[in-house]
Symmetry: C2
Subunit: 220 residues, 2 copies
DNA sequence: TTAATTTTTTAGATTTGACTAAATTTATTT
DNA sequence: AAATAAATTTAGTCAAATCTAAAAAATTAA
């Protein structure tokens, strides 16, 4: 089944909103999509007919199984393009989202699967969000980025959101790998750099950019 | 200025049609776009208001300077994506057009210029058609592909439409370069392979695929 | 537990791009 | 040059996606 750009934007946005609350309201969705509540109601009726969501008037809505599948396919496209833009075309961090918003609506499955292969099946987009695989499977364990960890809290590196050669080189040099235990010693407000302890007595300073790319699973 | 997918398809198609004849007719365009003549008339009025073409009722139409610029931007996007799909994602020859038809409507200039750089500023798409540069300049000299040259006609190689490593390796091995003089000796119907003479007495056989990629400027 | 407020839905309009059917203009024949 | 045929345009509809304004339902507060 193929969906219009508008339908896809609704589906995608519902998916993101319902992660926080269980159910999504008309006003919320209208606010997020910068449209009017009346337009949302119209679209909800349409998506209900297409059997993508649960919806009873005045009761809010939630994607069903099929709707979730569609959402994951869109998110997969979005995040793969973001990765491509950052890694191959050298777009910066903050530019990729806007461009990917357009590219995500080109919904040729073969294109996306080949793009995935070309990129080396990346696990996370440049913002650290997980990329669903070709079957719509997405890494569930919510990962926290290093800057969100409080001071002096021992934790373990569980991944890197940006797989570029540049970042891997830097991490290698600082001996930060998956499984590395570390702890933040100091946060500098000026440039948001962090002083961290990696080994028993190895202290090093890392930039905000680098810290943003270091993912932590458990504050273990 | 931004144009809808529909407007872009009209502009692009007018551009291609008017190369053959000077002016494009309503029926021609309707046929090409698989739509109805009445729809064409509607759109022509719209594009005239937007000052992209010359149009007097019953007189046919032709893109003006601005319209041509828009067309070249679309064609640039299309051909760069075709090149990307073939060269990087390993799509085959015949699959690229359809996918590029969708990608071409993502009209972010920075995206396209960065894609161009990433690809190494290719001159031709996988079908041998020239790719307009960032300023809309397009190689004017019409190039003919080798299979279109008659038997026993001396000619000079002027380019290769597909810049992939694979094809360059093969051409290098056969000592076929830009400027090489050659002449077709025999055409085999079975597989459309060609027997060609390159040096004074060097005879070699090349496949249809290879021949399709060899561009000839003048039957000199 | 009514009244007031907020949220959501319905009703009716608008725009874009398409369509059919009819009218008009241009081209072709006799 | 008039008649016929072909091409093009006009007029009126339609569907998708949006909007505003008004009505209805749900929530909150007095």
């Amino acid at each position: 089944m193929n969906y219009s750009v508008s339908e896809e934007n609704y589906i995608k946005t519902i998916f993101h909103l319902q992660k926080k609350e269980g159910t999504v309201t008309t006003n919320e969705l209208a606010g997020e999509l910068k449209t009017r509540p009346a337009s949302v109601t119209d679209m909800m009726k349409k998506l209900k007919v297409k059997k993508l969501l649960h919806y009873q008037p005045y009761q809010g809505f939630r994607l069903n199984n099929d709707g979730t599948k569609v959402a994951l396919a869109i998110i997969r496209r979005h995040r793969l393009w973001e990765y491509f833009l950052a890694e191959k075309l050298k777009f910066t961090w903050d530019e990729v989202h806007e461009v990917a918003e357009e590219l995500e609506h080109v919904s040729n499955k073969k294109l996306i699967d080949k793009l995935d292969a070309f990129l080396g099946y990346p696990k996370n987009d440049p913002h650290g969000d997980p990329i669903p695989d070709a079957n719509g499977k997405i890494e569930s364990g919510k990962k926290i980025r290093l800057p969100e960890i409080p001071l002096h809290t021992p934790c373990i590196v569980s991944g890197v959101s940006n797989q570029s050669g540049e970042i891997l080189e830097l991490l290698e040099h600082k001996k930060i790998r998956i499984g590395t235990r570390l702890e933040i010693r100091k946060k500098f407000d000026f440039d948001e750099s962090l002083e961290i302890k990696t080994g028993k007595q190895t202290i090093t300073t890392i930039s905000r950019q680098l810290a943003e790319n270091i993912l932590i699973t458990h504050e273990a």
